[in-house]
Symmetry: C2
């Protein structure tokens, strides 16, 4: 049995708490970060608070907290000053209220030594399936890559929807294509999966498309078309 203390009240904390509650080899105790007085002893203490608060919360903990980890995608491990520290970062975008299936969420783990890394792997395996040893620098790169594949991709969806709305076309017609595009790259690389007028260098279609867009959409269309052709 691994004793886990979970500090925090936000989305990540509440989703983790639900998952740990159901795990057979974890004894979980939840602590509100605003009442950090008698912090229980633990094998692992997980600080699931906002990025800005991680350092100050960690400063309130001592050796009885065991291995101290945060759950952030961006804060370096060494922003905490304990000897036994690490990172326990579930890479997913958590929505309040939505049910989270951790079996499909990868955990990015980091620690200062192999014993602690193995302990984090046990904790991750108790609620999920996949975990990766990722350094603070690699985690920083993952977070950056996630902006492209999540936030920027979502903006491509928004422009697609704007074009549909403007012409009374139901955006849902594009849902299956969106799903297919997202699935394809789990089998072949995005570079191999690329199709379309930019890839084919179909100048006539590119010209036709540009004529139908507003100026900001045109800039985006031109720049991404160029990037597809040069990469």
């Amino acid at each position: 049995m691994i004793k886990v203390v979970l500090i925090g009240q936000g989305n990540v904390a509440s989703h983790l708490a639900t998952a740990f509650d159901a795990a057979t080899n974890i004894e979980i105790e939840k602590v509100n970060s605003r009442h950090l007085k008698n912090i229980p002893k633990a094998d692992v203490t997980i600080i699931a608070v906002s990025d800005d608060a991680i350092s100050s919360v960690s400063n309130l903990l001592n050796a009885s907290a065991g291995l101290i980890v945060h759950t952030s995608g961006t804060v370096p491990m060494n922003d905490m000053h304990q000897q036994r520290k690490g990172v326990f970062y579930p890479l997913q975008s958590f929505t309040k209220g939505a049910i989270v299936d951790f079996s499909n969420i990868p955990f990015c783990l980091e620690a200062t030594n192999n014993n602690d890394l193995e302990l984090l792997e046990l904790v991750a395996k108790s609620i999920g399936e996949k975990s990766y040893h990722i350094t603070s620098n690699q985690r920083k790169k993952l977070h950056l890559a996630a902006v492209f594949v999540n936030n920027f991709t979502n903006h491509m969806y928004q422009i697609g929807k704007d074009i549909c709305d403007e012409h009374q076309v139901p955006f849902e017609i594009l849902h299956p294509l969106i799903e297919e595009t997202s699935k394809k790259i789990t089998n072949i690389s995005p570079k191999e999966a690329q199709t379309g007028p930019a890839k084919r260098n179909d100048q006539q279609t590119i010209k036709n498309h540009l004529e139908q867009l507003n100026s900001q959409q045109q800039e985006i269309y031109k720049l991404i078309t160029q990037s597809i052709q040069e990469n």
Copy 2:
């Protein structure tokens, strides 16, 4: 029983042929577009050839071909000159050899009169579930929107993978996030679904991210960030 003649040898033609073969209310006959002499009589003749060839193939057909439709996302219906004509466009990106589940693919239908539109709906329903009445102009807009949600989204995946590869991070860590992002917009609009540093106007993170990118990636990052903030 609806008699369908299918002209073409490409991906769309072969996927449609497989689906029609399994449909109980369709009698399907396949014709090679290079041997267009004795074209059989039909209720519906589907021209599933390359965009460039649609007009010339349609010119070889007469009234015995019944309702003549093409399967293109971009060619206007009126590029064909028969009286009874239409469009039967399955909106998906077809990969050779891959199995296609038409039950999940929307058909965009167009015809010159309601009777022919209803006939196309029957044909679509025989192999799929969803069909939409879409004009040639709307289809043109759908095709444009598809470039954003498919080709440009795929390029966002490629940039994400490039960043991962450069730092020896397995791109597969991002697969669940990619899937989640694509699913989210089937429940809420992309605008509502947007998160991240651009949406939050988190200048410090944006600055950090830009410093980690090459010049082309920087241009894309800046332009999409600006577009997210202004839309």
